[in-house]
């Protein structure tokens, strides 16, 4: 990559700088005059302003389910599997992770209370961070095939009328809740019949 100076490296679209109030008064006045006298530049400026106020696409961030899958995958990455906290994998990784968290301002503020609140002891925590009471009503416990994709899991759960209400446990079990007993029975066959997504099913 060619050598660049700081101004270029830190530079942005001047129209965006104008919209976000980052220009000096002189620069802003000069650019505003140019915009007012050129319809094409005005259209470009309005586009930039509109882009700054939209997110471009509706994101379906996987949230809790994504975290549960990630936690399960992280647990598999850990060489000392049984009874060892995933965060105690090794000092160097923990330190590096800490550097990451420190580098992202404010995030560590969320970590400290989180860890303190759970008294980080050896062992795993569930994705929800709580063991929680057993769900009322019909439920099943399942383990997903590690290689199953997010899309496949979501589709199967949707088709089965299941909602994840707890998990994963230390051994990777999720608790699924159903509307009624009939739905649970129907789902049981469907889940068992999907070995590419479901590792095993345990009736509660």
């Amino acid at each position: 990559m060619a050598q660049t100076n700081d101004a270029e490296t830190n530079g942005r679209d001047p129209l965006q700088d104008l919209h976000r109030g980052r220009l000096t008064q002189d620069e802003a006045e000069r650019l505003t005059r140019a915009i007012e006298s050129d319809p094409r530049l005005e259209a470009e400026y309005r586009l930039v302003a509109a882009l700054g106020e939209t997110d471009g696409a509706h994101s379906a961030f996987p949230g809790e389910l994504g975290w549960a899958r990630l936690q399960q995958a992280l647990a598999r990455e850990t060489p000392q599997r049984s009874g060892v906290n995933v965060w105690q994998r090794s000092v160097s990784v923990w330190q590096a992770a800490a550097c990451l968290l420190l580098a992202v301002a404010g995030w560590q503020l969320a970590v400290a209370p989180y860890l303190a609140g759970r008294g980080v002891a050896p062992g795993y925590v569930t994705a929800t961070g709580e063991t929680g009471p057993a769900p009322h009503g019909p439920a099943l416990r399942v383990a997903f095939v590690p290689e199953a994709s997010e899309a496949a899991i979501r589709t199967l759960l949707r088709e089965s009328g299941a909602t994840i209400v707890d998990g994963p446990t230390a051994v990777g079990l999720y608790t699924l809740a159903f509307e009624d007993e009939e739905a649970r029975k129907a789902a049981l066959d469907r889940l068992v019949g999907n070995p590419t997504v479901i590792d095993f099913v345990e009736a509660q």
Binding site: T9, R40, A43, A50, G56, P62, L70, A96, A97, W107
Partner: protein
Amino acid sequence: MRAFYEAVGPDLHRFIQTRLNDPHEAADVLQETMLEVWRQAHAFERRSAVRTWVFSIARNKAIDRVRRSAPTGPAPDEEIADAAPDPEAAMAALQDGDRLRECIGSLKTVHRAAIQLAYFRDLPYGEIAQIENCSIGTVKTRIHHAKRLLLHCLSKKPSRRGGGV
């Protein structure tokens, strides 16, 4: 790690979705990215911002995914329209947020990614260049073309909406 996931995950997922156009594929790539961050954290030398490093990993993972699912090769580049867009029609269309999203969705991946990083994430050219593994000049060119394509798209009549009087 959970705090990291929750802090960076939504933006990262949106960025990946920009490249893949599929929220579920994006979720899988998000997971791969977070795992890679976990595995490589010890090797991170802080020569770039954490954000840049993480987004670069996501970009590479998304590209790998596209290559695996489209072994016949990438789609041909869009042509940059020669005719100047109609500024008044474009400005009128900007009132409709869905229309703007539709036009953003019609962009080539590299243009869409440049727009997202530059305007939604408000990143400077240098950081976008690091994430996209290209020169600052290329970033500027992509942004220039993307804006021009968007204005063209906005100047045109909506493709699927009613209207037709």
